[in-house]
Amino acid sequence: MKTPQPLPQNLRPPLALLERLSNAVGVSGDEEEIRQIVQKQIRSFVDEITVDALGNVLAVKHAADPNVTRVMFAAHMDEVGFMLVQEEGEGSFAFEPVGGIDERQLLGKPVQVGKERLPGVIGSKPIHLCTAEELHHAVPQKNMHIDLSPGCASKAKVGDFATFATRFQRNGDALFGKALDDRLGVATLIELARVNPGNLEILFAFTVQEEIGLRGARVAAYNFQPDMAFVVDSTPAFDLPLVQEDEENTQYNTRLGAGPAIYLSDAGTISDPRLVHFMVKLAEEHHIPFQFRQPGGGGTDAGAIHLTRSGVPSVSISIPGRYAHTPILHASLEDWKNTLHLLNLVLLHASRSILTPDR
């Protein structure tokens, strides 16, 4: 195997920025904190920034020739979390998830609530007081409570958002943090904004409400009218132990450390094969490791973007991440570097000719 070409000198995975983005709070519908970071970071590298009616950050790098190819890059700013839905007294609240969360990930987890980030606990009944029958069943989310402690009774209110209280941590190649889905994509787009591409109109969409139905991406793409779209997200790596050690894992989706995951098809999109081919060719020519995400369920903002107006050729590329939609995700720095490298090449080499012949 040939060694991959090094990441261009001007591109570095912005780890400090990723840490800030991971620790920042932006549950679907409440992305303001992320929006502020994004705008501040890209201001000096783009020609135009607008915030649309839903809260998407739309940033443009203009080409000299206004008739040139319009290339959209999208990453979602929102993360899964919770909303307080009923006050129960003594600082305790019933809550509902925002986005898809496995209820078995919640017991005993710390959360932060509202703009003040009040500390709370999703409490779990002591094992000593559980019946044998109870211990054999997962606790339904409806029976859980966010406990802010009796001293906080008046500080939080129904409608407040909450998310996991997790601090980002790096150990060598391992990146641990909440909301890496999709702050990894957000940080990637911010870094790409520094690249000066060829003669292309570059359209960056930092989208809202992906986790509750790709709602931001839909209006962002309508606004941008791109010729093609690249969606940068994080997709699960299920390269995990099995019950029987000798079983073969055929459902891994992606593998951590095997490079950026290019989508062929998911529950919402069949990737444009011309864009897939374009990326694969670039990766191979430059010896950048990559993998295909196993075709299957799930989806990204591409699901909305490719159906906008009369249709947009679209593809998704994801940084693999273990344990998506849980208190702590685990991603690989090397995968992120390789994703950044490949997308940098996409920026430098994209042109309308990719889309000929017809699909």
């Binding site: 990930q105 002591p126 299920f238 702590i328």
Partner: protein
């Protein structure tokens, strides 16, 4: 945050699993050194702090014990880049997925406990509650490095950063029973300005979560005239209120039942009422499940009492309690100890009980 809350914060941040209490014992030593006359460590690792009676004649002694060990996990097997673990102490595996941990190998390695997702299970197992056979720890270390750094038997502790809540509440992973270690520390601080008539042994015991080995051996070594076990008890929780749970922030509990000497119980209630300190009576129909069980049957038997600090979510990565209750338990202890006079022993247990 005052001094005692800062101290408790650091206790909750330390590992110190049952049988391996050294990291937390060192912190307690530092805190107790200026508050005691003598500090020693027992052969099993319990910490004995002595406040000597101010007297020229030999005096009786009272032992106040709280266990310092914490529950956690232990590496059972290395499977590729993942670790399989077993439990140390009573842990409900349902609280483990998504839990950050520290693996105490050749160095401290951060990791996450996770479960095999439904996608990789056969359909009959999908949706089932997390169970140790389907849980693993992911450190992100490459296989070779993991093999070098970690071996079966290494400890895995919860990496739950303590949180401070408005109104004097605190949450973290080993309030059971470091909340009581903090209460004993409050007691020692209160006693600074008193000369004692009895010798006072403050003991931070080991291995309570296993089977009370620390309390059993320390009580034997010290042979006190009175034993007091301070441990946590169940606080009422959202959706959980029974006779086994007590209001949070409304004072410590005083035990009643076979494990508690009635004379001591009367004395503690009387003192609480004198100083207007709120408390609840905790019924202990059989045993107390605390160090008090071991202390009571040590040597020829020791009159014992069990005090409780109510906490929510016991034995989970985030237990929650009230700093006010910790201070109250400390004050109650101090007041009892200053009530002990040279001749108290002659009268205290002569009411015809037991």
């Amino acid at each position: 945050m005052d001094k005692i809350e800062t101290f408790l914060h650091s206790l909750l941040s330390a590992p110190g699993l049952s049988g391996f209490e050294e990291p937390v014992r060192k912190q307690i030593e530092d805190e107790w050194r200026p508050l005691t006359d003598e500090l020693t460590t027992s052969p099993l690792g319990s910490l004995h702090g002595l406040r000597r009676a101010y007297a020229s004649t030999p005096r009786p002694s009272v032992m106040v014990a709280a266990h310092m060990d914490a529950i956690g996990l232990m590496v059972k097997e290395i499977q590729g880049t993942f670790l399989k673990v077993s439990k140390i102490g009573g842990i409900d595996p349902r609280v483990l997925p998504g839990q950050p941990v520290l693996v105490h190998g050749k160095k401290e390695i951060p990791g996450i406990v996770q479960m095999i997702p439904d996608r990789l299970l056969n359909s009959s197992a999908a949706g089932s509650p997390p169970n140790l056979s389907r849980l693993f720890v992911d450190t992100g270390l490459p296989e070779k490095e993991l093999q070098q750094q970690v071996q079966p038997g290494d400890l895995v502790s919860f990496a739950s950063t303590p949180m401070h809540h408005e109104g004097g509440y605190i949450s973290g992973h080993s309030l059971d029973n470091r909340a009581s270690v903090a209460a004993i520390t409050v007691c020692l601080q209160e006693l600074k300005r008193y000369q004692l008539e009895w010798n006072l042994w403050c003991v931070a015991t080991v291995m309570e979560e296993e089977f009370l080995q620390g309390a059993l051996t320390s009580a034997f070594a010290l042979k006190p005239e009175i034993g007091i076990a301070v441990d946590v008890t169940f606080a009422e929780e959202p959706g959980l209120k029974t006779y086994t749970t007590f209001p949070l922030g409304k004072g410590p509990t005083i035990g009643t039942g076979a494990n508690v000497h009635p004379a001591l119980q009367r004395k503690f209630k009387q003192i609480a009422e004198e100083i207007d300190l709120p408390y609840a009576v905790e019924t202990m129909p059989r045993g107390s499940g605390t160090d008090g069980m071991a202390i009571q049957i040590t040597a020829a038997g020791i009159p014992t009492i069990v005090l409780g600090i109510p906490i929510r979510y016991m034995h989970t990565p985030y237990e929650l309690t009230s700093m006010a209750d910790i201070r109250r338990a400390g004050r109650l202890l101090a007041r009892f100890i200053t009530s002990l006079e040279e001749d108290t022993l002659a009268t205290l247990f002569t009411g015809g009980d037991q």
